[in-house]
């Protein structure tokens, strides 16, 4: 029988993080000092990491514990509390070794057992795979070979970063490899979009307000636009990006997750399985296009030279590590359809692009126009429908467009935006995505992580588009850097009598 701790009643945290060791494979990479260590340190500042705790960095680079700590210190702000860093860093260790080499795992295991002893950790392990996805199965099987995947005591979880597969087949293979050695419940697939506060706020907005859910369907909603635009080009990621493209990099994972949060049915409970069940249902309801339908539903583009905020920038093909004749898309716009009772006939226009004029991420829900025009003084085209925008980046907030009467003796209608800005309402800053995700993985809450079946279901939707693009003789359209994408993207929305929101 498990006893409840009666002293926990009424405390802000109803469960505590259990003792654990965070083992980071690929620890000498940037992610560790840029993101992971600062996130863990912030958790320490808020006393959210367990009191029995250790970080073990694993990588080929030979480093001492001290050198590794020094490297991680660089990622923290100067002002970080020295006393806390002292205590925190004494729990940071480094183990030099090649994660591809099965022989090395005996030493790793020994090291972990030594740390168990030293820091009083009961055998719980969080393996963070900050390595190339090709190495996920290698690490998984190497761990399994020494029974480090299912220890005698405690729990083992593995965290993996995207990309999770490059199409349905590879994702299924990867899932298969991991599932040979780990249970689905042990695998935490990070989609850092889900760690964002405002993304989580979509659920609160939909299910804590009574007035939106009744109109959240095909009777009242005309269409939904999801936009993720960035001003940056491919920067130093040319090699990876050229083989991936915008659809794989952004849409199949992040934006489809956003879409699922907007389109899902209310889950019965706010727990990992209930929420993820509803999301996977959305993916399964999404229409899978036939190859011949793709040109009418998905547009791709590639940026050419142009200007961003007044500065001349090169085109995609001139970027480092990019093939000079690359057809890879840096812009993608897709019309998704969710074929269920709630959403039948409501298009979800999803677009993403690099080298766009502004950095914006948002979900815009456009409602249907009023059925009958009452206000004769108003030109017909001025009577816009209501629009609800859930803004995610850079200003987080919600805005609702409503019609009001313009002051004066005659009745004239004007549109105003009611703008709620997260940052103005609550100056309390939001925790960074990695803090939340690392904490949740230590607590064993998988709600904000992608489940294997959802990843596969999302690939099943993306696959036909990728397939069609690959075999298409048509070259990828180009668009000048600093514009809102290729002309064709406008046309494909306008053909349906709609237009992209001007952002």
């Amino acid at each position: 029988m498990i006893l409840e701790n009666p002293l926990r009643v009424g405390l802000a945290r109803t469960c505590a993080t259990e003792p654990c060791a965070v083992v980071i494979f690929g620890a000498s990479g940037d992610l560790t000092w840029r993101k992971l260590c600062p996130a863990l340190f912030r958790l320490a500042e808020e006393s959210l990491i367990p009191r029995e705790f250790a970080i073990l960095g694993v990588s080929r680079t030979p480093l001492s514990d001290e050198e590794f700590r020094e490297r991680l210190r660089q990622g923290l702000p100067q002002e970080a509390d020295p006393a806390l860093w002292e205590a925190f860093s004494s729990r940071i260790h480094y183990h030099a070794g090649d994660h591809r080499d099965p022989q090395g795992y005996a030493a790793l295991q020994e090291r972990l057992e030594e740390l168990d002893e030293r820091h009083g950790i009961g055998g719980n392990r969080l393996f963070y795979l900050a390595v190339s996805p090709a190495d996920f199965p290698i690490i998984a099987s190497n761990l399994a070979a020494r029974d480090m995947n299912r220890p005698a005591r405690g729990w083992v979880r593995i965290l993996v970063e995207k990309p999770f597969g490059r199409d349905l087949v590879s994702a299924m293979e990867l899932n298969g490899e991991l599932l040979r050695h780990f249970d689905e419940s042990q695998i935490y697939r990070i989609d850092h979009y889900l760690g964002k506060e405002t993304v989580q706020n979509i659920l609160t907005f939909r299910f804590a307000n009574g007035i939106f859910e009744p109109v959240w369907n095909r009777r009242y909603i005309d269409h939904v636009q999801i936009t993720a635009a960035e001003t940056l080009g491919v920067e130093s990621r040319g090699g990876y990006y050229d083989a991936a493209g915008a659809l794989r990099d952004m849409i199949q994972n992040h934006l489809m997750q956003l879409l699922a949060l907007v389109a899902m049915e209310p889950p019965a409970r706010l727990d990992a399985e209930a929420v993820r069940d509803e999301k996977v249902k959305v993916f399964r309801a999404m229409r899978r296009y036939k190859p011949r339908e793709v040109p009418g539903c998905a547009i791709r583009g590639q940026y050419a030279a142009g200007h961003i905020e007044g500065t001349a920038v090169p085109g995609y093909r001139q970027e480092a590590k990019v093939q000079p004749d690359s057809q890879t898309e840096t812009y993608a716009a897709v019309r998704f359809l969710v074929d269920n009772w709630r959403w039948s006939g409501v298009p979800f226009y999803v677009r993403t692009g690099k080298r766009m004029p502004r950095k914006v991420t948002e979900v815009a829900v456009q409602f249907r126009a009023v059925p009958h025009l009452l206000f004769s003084n108003t030109p017909e085209d001025a009577l816009e429908p209501n629009l609800l925008v859930l803004k995610i980046d850079p200003e987080e907030g919600i805005s609702l467009r409503i019609a009001t009467k313009y002051p004066g003796m005659v009745t004239r209608v004007r549109w105003v935006n009611m703008d709620f800005q997260y940052g103005r309402a609550f100056a309390a800053p939001s925790p960074a995505a990695y803090e939340r995700l690392l904490l949740d993985s230590m607590l064993g809450d998988a709600t904000l992580f992608s489940r294997g079946d959802a990843v596969e279901a999302a690939w099943a939707v993306a696959d036909p588009i990728l397939e069609a693009w690959k075999s298409s003789p048509e070259p990828t359209d180009s668009y000048p850097a600093g514009s809102w994408g290729p002309r064709a993207a406008e046309a494909f929305v306008e053909d349906e009598g709609r237009h992209w929101r001007r952002i």
Binding site: L3, L7, G10, S47, P77, G423, R424, P429
Partner: protein, 591 residues
């Protein structure tokens, strides 16, 4: 505090005779101006915050706190400053909109300030009703002791969803009034919270986490002893350690019984689920602290030990924590008020804790008055009786001044077990030991000269070292005598000044705020020299306290002190009793 100083503490603005209509118009104008400037089209307010200050001194630091607070929780603030001491005058009121300087965005704090001189608190509820934003939750925050049992409190409570006060602001005995409010069936809609309870959150978290592992959770039902070390406050067992004890008792199902003093701790033996649990509250000194727990040790019957020695205050959440640049104390208060504002529901755990805490609470008896014909004679009898009713060393703190002189001479003539006495001086003037004003000189000339008492049994303040050093050295002597623990005298003799002072604790003097050590140097003001004195926690840890009050001049103050007026002497309570011994002149007929 004058009105100008007070203003500076709260906000910008000009006090003017009150007109709510004008205030609301001003606020609208300010907002419009600002809106145009900042392009704000939409204002968002999460809370009405009503702050009631029991006196002008309660506004200290409030402006900064409210400014920061509103940056996190957009509030409409209504600050009502009561000034019962001031002459009755016109109500003053003004509005201000403060925009936060060091944040990226314009965060604005809407404030309406009311200043109520004289006894005009009764008008506050109507002003609150007129200024609240509709439909937004209302939180009332009482700074200083809430006016229990008044219409003001009752009516503001009616308007509030959450009621916040700090039990550190009033004597533990008043917590019963809090309990009465919380359990009143007319207040089931309101959530009550005590900031002293809120400050325990980190402690609770830390203690709870000790017992999270399943094998440790099992130990909870096998606890034999829980010891809480704490720094005394104005009360011998202040609210925080008391609530911590109450929390453990209520969570773990221990049947609470009142604590009593045993040697070095307040102890209660409670019947737990499966046996007896000894609860020990041990007073200790810890520099710079007052009224809070500093350590906990829980032992099981099998000898397993769980301990918390330090609780690190948790940092405020969010990314810009490193850049906030706030004083840690302000940040801590802010964090706490933030928690209060972000929750509105009733805290059942607190209610159960409060109930248990009141049942284990240590309550010193109320003071008694005894009127006698011959003050010195009666005092000598009392002292001798106390001395003879116990064995072993008898630790006595003596009063100075002129009143006890005859008492000491009388005592010296008596046949007492002098060898058992250990004598300290409750206070001393900062003068050489042979100065006519020296208390030690008076004791030497009376007690030491006339009895077999040895000079090493009497501890004098080494005034030649200068006040601060003398206080420090005396504290060291007390440490040696009481093995480092806060001194618990068997008896303290005290005088009563016409201004209500006792020992050398004068009304409003800084030494009254010292709770982390046994002694303090108390400067009397420019040109008036200094006094050295035992501190309030020491007087309140004494087994008994005996005041000697003689002469017609003391009649008025004696009456006011016994009525519980705001004087240092009213705050002294011996653990087992406090006796005011007065002669007939000092005691008016109606007492």
């Amino acid at each position: 505090m004058d009105l100008e100083t007070m203003l500076a503490e709260v906000s910008v603005g000009h006090p003017r005779p009150l007109s709510i209509g004008r205030i609301m118009r001003e606020l609208d104008d300010l907002e419009r101006e600002l809106g145009i400037e900042a392009g704000v089209q939409f204002r968002l307010t999460t809370t009405n915050l009503v702050v009631v200050c029991s006196g002008p001194d309660q506004v200290r630091g409030l402006g900064l706190l409210l400014g920061e607070l509103c940056a996190e929780f957009p509030c409409r603030c209504l600050v009502a400053v009561l000034d019962p001491e001031a002459e009755k005058g016109t109500l003053q009121g003004w509005a201000s909109l403060t925009c936060h300087p060091h944040r990226r965005q314009h965060m604005c704090c809407e404030q309406v300030i009311l200043y109520c001189p004289g006894g005009q608190g009764e008008s506050v509820p109507s002003l609150v009703s007129a200024t609240l934003l509709p439909e937004v939750p209302t939180l009332s925050w009482w700074r200083g002791e809430p006016p229990f049992g008044t219409h003001l409190l009752e009516q503001v409570l009616e308007l509030s969803d959450r009621v916040v006060f700090d039990s550190a602001d009033f004597p533990v005995s008043r917590m019963e009034s809090v309990q009465a409010l919380v359990t009143d069936r007319y207040h089931q809609e309101q959530a009550f919270s005590d900031l002293s309870w809120g400050r325990l959150e980190e402690w609770r978290e830390e203690i709870a986490s000790l017992f999270d592992p399943p094998e440790a959770t099992e130990c909870l039902s096998a606890l034999a002893q829980v010891e809480i070390r704490f720094v005394p406050g104005p009360d011998p067992v202040p609210p925080q350690p008391l609530l911590l004890a109450g929390w453990l008792a209520s969570r773990l199902g221990w049947r609470p019984v009142p604590m009593t003093w045993a040697d070095d701790a307040f102890v209660a033996r409670l019947s737990g689920g499966s046996g007896r649990v000894e609860l020990r509250l041990v007073p200790v000194w810890a520099e710079g602290q007052s009224g809070r727990p500093v350590g906990l040790v829980a032992k099981t019957r099998q000898g397993r030990e769980f301990r918390v020695d330090e609780v690190r205050p948790r940092r405020r959440g969010g990314r810009d924590v490193w850049k906030s640049g706030l004083e840690p104390e302000v940040a801590r208060r802010l964090e706490q008020m933030g928690r209060e504002l972000s929750t509105l529901s009733r805290d059942v755990v607190y209610q159960e804790t409060l109930e248990s805490a009141l049942e284990v609470a240590f309550q010193a008896p109320e003071p008694r008055l005894q009127v006698v014909a011959d003050l010195a004679e009666a005092a000598a009898d009392h002292l001798e009786a106390r001395l003879r009713e116990q064995e072993g060393p008898f630790r006595l703190a003596l009063a100075g001044g002129s009143t006890p002189r005859r008492l000491y001479s009388l005592l010296a003539e008596r046949d007492l077990p002098w060898e058992r006495l250990r004598i300290f001086l409750g206070d001393e003037r900062a003068v050489p030991e042979d100065h006519p004003d020296s208390n030690f000189r008076m004791v030497r000339e009376t007690l030491l000269a006339g009895s077999t008492l040895q000079s090493e049994q009497v501890f004098r303040w080494e005034t030649e070292r200068g006040p601060d050093e003398a206080a420090r050295v005396y504290a060291q002597a007390l440490d040696r005598e009481f093995a480092g623990a806060p001194p618990c005298f068997d008896l303290v003799l005290l005088g009563l000044g016409e201004d209500g002072h006792t020992a050398s604790l004068f009304p409003g003097s800084p030494a009254l705020q010292v709770f982390d050590r046994a002694t303090a140097a108390n400067p009397l003001g420019p040109g008036k020299g200094s006094r050295l004195t035992l501190t309030l926690p020491v007087l309140n840890l004494a087994r008994s306290a005996m005041f000697l009050v003689g002469g017609r001049a003391k009649a008025s103050i004696l009456r006011r002190v016994l009525a519980g007026g705001p004087f240092p002497a009213s705050r002294v309570r011996g653990r087992e009793g406090t006796l005011f011994l007065a002669d007939r002149e000092a005691c008016p007929d109606d007492l």
